[in-house]
Symmetry: C2
Subunit: 342 residues, 2 copies
């Protein structure tokens, strides 16, 4: 039988001590971490970048098919992604949790294994948090703190007409992974004897359950001395994010369907599920890729990087925001992104 | 009939635009606020202090007797209190919410009125957040960011033997306010015809529903050039906080019952409810006063400040942590503080 330790037995402070007993500090800027009213960080003349995200059970994740370790990892990643999307380097996080008494200490421990794995990989210091009970469900709230050289951060509102529109990695896979997991859940609930059929789908499942944040793209752009003119991460879906950049920069854009990067695994699965791969890329969220605009003159510097695709360009606002399909048709881009309120 | 606007009608981005439409910026350090992947703050050579707190419906608050405006106010205050407890000045917050669809736009608006009122009073910039639905209940997660001159922050672990143990304001009132509200709720549930009897109890009710953070104490200490040797805020109860300081500073303490500040209103109500006023002060939480230690030689500087009481002193660890009662008896201090896991 698996071990089960009740969290009640430790109390709040015992729990915090337990969960932070092996905590590692990676940044010299961490003057004071967990264990006081607040943490203290010193940014040595850099600017501080802050972002926060909340993940709610039943809304953002389903524990039926989400291993807690992956959930811990992902809850860090989605926040780091926002810091990278500012062209900044994440350095610290705080992690607050509320959970009902159906969670054991072993379960929380598994969650924190994922949190610490992400912290180690990205050299992030966990410097504080809050733990609490909830009447129902599991709620995770993470705040990420990063640093950037003064005024080197990149906003969404500063794209210029004629800039190239670029995206990293490939899109749609996280949504397809979710679709697959939801399908298998449904089958399982109808007939618990049937084993889930997820073979050969490790790519899309991995993209959904254990995403990464694109620090490599930020490093590459810095090494090539490219400052994006605007940037954000793809959490709600490509079309939704493009419209944010267009609206906030007061521009239009042209996007080419054939240029949108979709992995072979994603394309095949989409077909198999009767879905349009392009629609998955445009409207499926949670890819945590970076979408950015840059000056045309920087184009030569990125051609050899297979992780960056130029998918279109920015136009005057009057032209609107359009996608040119493979067959040459022109459609207005609409935000079909994942909407937590629908 | 009261207006009710469904949040679904706005969508997440419409909601954020709506809730932040009148946002004010008070700090020159706010380079970039709400509306991008992250916010940017510049601390001009100061150290950054970060704290976070989560409030969960049914655990930390009861909407049956908590007006949403007060809840918004309090959710900011409890976080600012942690920053002041570091001897730092809070400057920024992020605010994340999850709420079920029983909340209308008008309800959220009321909540934010309280948030903005606290921000205005304490000159805090709201720079980011996240809004999401929940399956059940209301969850609030706030992260507060502050600044302090390099290495001027005050920890819990640095009290010295012989230091005076001080506390601001008075204690126990917030707990008594909660006891009263819970009593009236019970009566109401048993007989909805009975009107709540809260007359003459505005002080304790106010301390529970609309606490303040003690920035005045921090300013006073700075003006008098007193640097506390250790400090924290009273959120779980005096005895629990004293034990934190003792344990983290590896010291003992002696505390005098007669010196513990309890307001007349609190004392009278406690008697009326058959409660011991000292027990309310020791074990009742949520007063958000500051408890700190300071060198004996600073004593003369605080005697005229009626908002600061010297309640005891720090001893060698072997002596343990004790309270001397009015009748001269000596008891070991135990943490009876409010525990979210009980």
């Amino acid at each position: 039988m698996e071990e089960r330790t009740e969290i009640n037995d430790l109390g709040e402070f015992g729990l915090i001590d337990y969960l932070t007993r092996n905590i590692e500090i990676y940044n010299a800027s961490t003057i004071l971490g967990v264990g006081d009213d607040a943490a203290v960080i010193d940014h040595f003349g850099k600017q501080t970048v802050i972002s926060t995200d909340m993940l709610v059970e039943g809304i953002h994740f389903d524990l039926m098919y989400t291993p807690l370790k992956h959930l811990g990892y992902k809850s860090v990643i989605v926040n780091l992604s926002d810091i990278y999307a500012m062209n900044a380097t994440p350095t610290h996080i705080t992690m607050s949790l509320a959970f009902s008494n159906r969670f054991s200490l072993e379960a929380l421990n598994e969650f924190y294994e994922g949190v610490y794995a992400a912290c180690e990989k990205y050299k992030i210091d966990l410097i504080g948090g809050d733990t609490s009970t909830s009447q129902k469900g599991f709620v995770i709230s993470v705040t990420a703190i990063g640093e950037v050289a003064p005024d080197k951060f990149v906003k969404r509102s500063t794209a210029q007409k004629g800039d190239l529109l670029c995206v990293s990695g490939d899109l749609g896979a996280a949504f397809l992974g979710l679709t697959l997991l939801e399908r298998e859940k449904k089958i399982f609930l109808e007939n618990p004897q049937v084993q889930p059929d997820l073979e050969n789908q490790t790519y899309v499942i991995g993209r959904q359950l254990k995403p990464e944040a694109r620090h490599d793209i930020i490093s590459f752009l810095a090494a090539k001395e490219i400052t994006p003119t605007s940037m954000m991460d793809v959490s709600d879906g490509l079309s939704s994010e493009i419209l944010h950049i267009c609206q906030q920069s007061k521009l239009g854009c042209v996007l080419y369907e054939e240029k949108i990067p979709v992995a072979d695994d994603s394309r095949q699965l989409a077909m198999q599920l009767g879905l349009d791969p392009t629609a998955c890329a445009l409207s499926g969220g949670e890819d945590y890729e970076l979408i950015f605009t840059m000056k045309q003159e920087d184009y030569d510097k990125i051609t050899l990087n297979e992780e960056i695709a130029v998918i279109g360009y920015m136009t005057e606002p009057e032209a609107g925001s359009h996608i040119i399909t493979r067959s040459g048709n022109k459609h207005t881009i609409t935000a079909q992104g994942w909407n937590a309120f629908k």
